[in-house]
């Protein structure tokens, strides 16, 4: 019976980080669907979200303002990135686009280091720090905020793509850009919008996790890679798959760090990615491409 108590704790922390990976992974999927680009700068949007929310909170100590302000600022960065770095590319081969987005990631990280320095900054939890207990396991209110807001964001995203005209237009572009253009959809604008939406999603993930992990200029790289792993594990471009992939990754990682060694936590995450890439590259949910 003793073995189950820590397991529940691992499960809770795994689901929390898994929800974050899922949100980041969905950002990758949205851009991939509309452009078949993998935006390697997605992780830096997560970092920018956390850091700008922390900065805004210092000016106006109100969490809702910080959340909305951070998300809006980063969405703008996403739009600008698409306009300045990706639209002017003359030869959009995957190799070129990988290099450009990797370059953007490195650049954003470097600028963040110059702006905020190398220290880690705290963001207060959304509703206090009083833990409550579930059997042997401890749950922080912030864990519930992460899980709850992830559900809300995913539902909102699904509703946006299914119900709104803009969302439907974006889906049309991802199925067939030329046909979408023929029926009068501004495909270029939809591509730009997908960068904005996914940057906003990443920023949201960053602000949710900041109270648990602190905000540092270099937090984005690892979170971005894990989010991408989540997207691949679930099946790139699939909403359900992305969520599932994130949760699988988060739980696997938490179990590994609890049962094996916390030093190998990140190695387990990428080992899982390599196994999925090699055995089932279309992901757990995705169909054959």
């Amino acid at each position: 019976m003793e073995i189950f108590a820590p397991l529940l704790q691992y499960l809770i922390s795994g689901l929390t980080s898994g929800a974050i990976y899922a949100l980041i992974g969905l950002g990758f999927g949205i851009i991939y669907n509309s452009t078949t680009i993998i935006n390697f700068a997605q992780g830096e949007m997560v970092m920018l979200g956390a850091m700008s929310a922390i900065s805004i909170y210092h000016l106006v100590p109100s969490l809702p303002v910080a959340f909305v302000g951070g998300v809006a600022a980063v969405a703008l960065v996403g739009l600008v990135l698409e306009r300045l770095a990706l639209r002017p590319v003359r030869d959009p081969s995957p190799l070129t686009l990988i290099i450009i987005t990797v370059g953007a990631a490195v650049l954003i990280k470097g600028v963040a280091m110059l702006l905020w320095g190398k220290e880690a900054y705290p963001l207060p939890p959304f509703s206090g720090n009083v833990p409550f207990h579930l059997g042997e396991a401890t749950i922080l209110p912030q864990n519930l905020w992460v899980l709850g807001l992830t559900v809300v964001l995913v539902a909102a995203l699904e509703a946006f793509f299914r119900l709104t005209l803009v969302g439907k237009a974006m889906r049309a572009c991802s199925y067939n850009p030329r046909a979408a253009r023929l029926v009068g959809i501004a495909a270029g604008r939809m591509v730009q919008l997908s960068f904005g939406v996914s940057a906003a999603l990443g920023a949201g993930a960053g602000i949710l996790i900041a109270p648990l992990t602190l905000g540092v200029y270099d937090m984005g790289t690892m979170l971005g890679l894990k989010g991408f792993s989540a997207a691949i594990i679930g099946g790139l471009g699939s909403l359900l798959g992305g969520v599932l992939g994130g949760l699988i990754l988060g739980v696997a990682e938490a179990l590994a760090s609890g049962l094996i060694s916390s030093g190998y936590r990140d190695a387990v995450a990428f080992l899982l990615l390599l196994i999925v890439l090699f055995v089932r590259p279309q992901g757990v949910v995705g169909g054959r491409r």
């Binding site: 993998i38 070129t96 290099i99 953007a104 470097g110 991408f228 080992l271 990615l273 390599l274 090699f278």
Partner: protein, 321 residues
């Protein structure tokens, strides 16, 4: 005409290497030149993969690290002959590249980038965590210097000739590879995999071959690096170093053997010349990657040459119509 120009380059290269060996008498310059040489080995290999194969490795520092640590551990801890250790590093790196390459190269586009990235991070974590073997984050020291026929290569100047003769050999080998049947097949698959396949090129095998070659070059560079510094730590083999290598390839020009030498030289010397460079290093690498790929996708030298030729052409009243 083309042959003569080609030959002239090699003569110029050999003459420069020998002249520097005769004239320079400052250990610092030799150390710097040795690092340029080691980086060139890495960049030529990566350039074969990126420029000619159209694939990308975002974890090339891992192969560099495997070479360095195999040499380091076998010589410092086990007392194996450095040349045998170097060979063991090559076998290990080549084997790892083979295992990763088989599944990843069958997939297109982003998958090799992601697989190599994951591999790079796993190797980096193992180097940090397997303390008993690698010495952990504080590194592995006491690596002996190389020796050639009983003559210890323990000063930067003595190493210089070995490293640059190797660089010359690798450059020649790569130029030869690029112009061989394999090389033509590889370039064909860069332009269009379907077209290459329809002409009977076994694309998966070609990509695997070039991926293994580039891993072997990196491992060789890693072994030299370990014996040059006599000390290695995981920090030299992280994600940022992989990015630095990609930046060198991009700056020197993809699909350019000599460009690799230039890219490695510029990005090794610049941080030494400008101390400011260190604070802004990350920003500068990012900016180089983006600006070069957006505006000069053929690399710095060729891009500027193209611009110059274009202006020249217009001044002489030429027109493209």
């Amino acid at each position: 005409m083309k042959l003569r120009r080609c030959l002239n380059r090699w003569v110029l290269f050999a003459a420069t290497v020998l002249m520097l060996a005769a004239w320079l008498d400052n250990a610092y310059y030799y150390t710097l030149l040795n690092f340029i040489g080691i980086h060139t080995l890495l960049v030529v290999g990566l350039n074969l993969l990126m420029g000619y194969g159209g694939q990308i490795s975002l974890g090339h520092a891992a192969f560099f690290g495997l070479g360095a640590y195999t040499s380091g551990i076998l010589t410092a801890t086990c007392g194996v002959n450095p040349w045998l250790a170097l060979l063991a590093g090559l076998i290990l790196s080549g084997g790892a590249a083979f295992l990763i390459g088989i599944p990843a190269l069958k997939l297109r586009g982003y998958y090799l980038a992601m697989a190599t990235l994951g591999f790079g991070i796993i190797v980096y974590i193992i180097l940090n965590e397997a303390r008993a073997l690698t010495g952990g984050p504080s590194g592995l020291s006491g690596i002996p210097s190389l020796a050639l026929a009983g003559w210890p290569l323990n000063t930067p100047r003595r190493l210089y000739l070995l490293i640059w003769m190797t660089v010359g050999g690798i450059l020649a080998l790569s130029a030869n590879l690029v112009n061989s049947r394999t090389g033509r097949a590889i370039r064909a698959l860069h332009d269009s995999e379907e077209a290459a396949e329809s002409l009977g090129v076994d694309t998966a095998r070609m990509k695997l071959k070039i991926f293994i070659w580039s891993a072997l070059y990196a491992s060789l560079a890693g072994s030299f690096y370990a014996h040059t510094l006599n000390f290695i730590a995981p920090a030299s083999f992280g994600f940022m170093f992989s990015i630095k290598l990609v930046t060198m390839v991009v700056l020197g020009g993809m699909a350019s053997i000599w460009g690799s030498l230039l890219g490695a030289a510029v990005l090794t010397v610049l941080p030494e010349l400008l101390t400011v460079f260190h604070d802004f290093e990350v920003v500068i690498f990012g900016a180089i990657l983006m600006v070069v790929m957006i505006f000069l996708p053929r690399g710095l030298v060729r891009g500027i040459m193209d611009l110059w030729e274009f202006r020249h052409f217009k001044r002489e009243g030429g027109s493209f119509v």
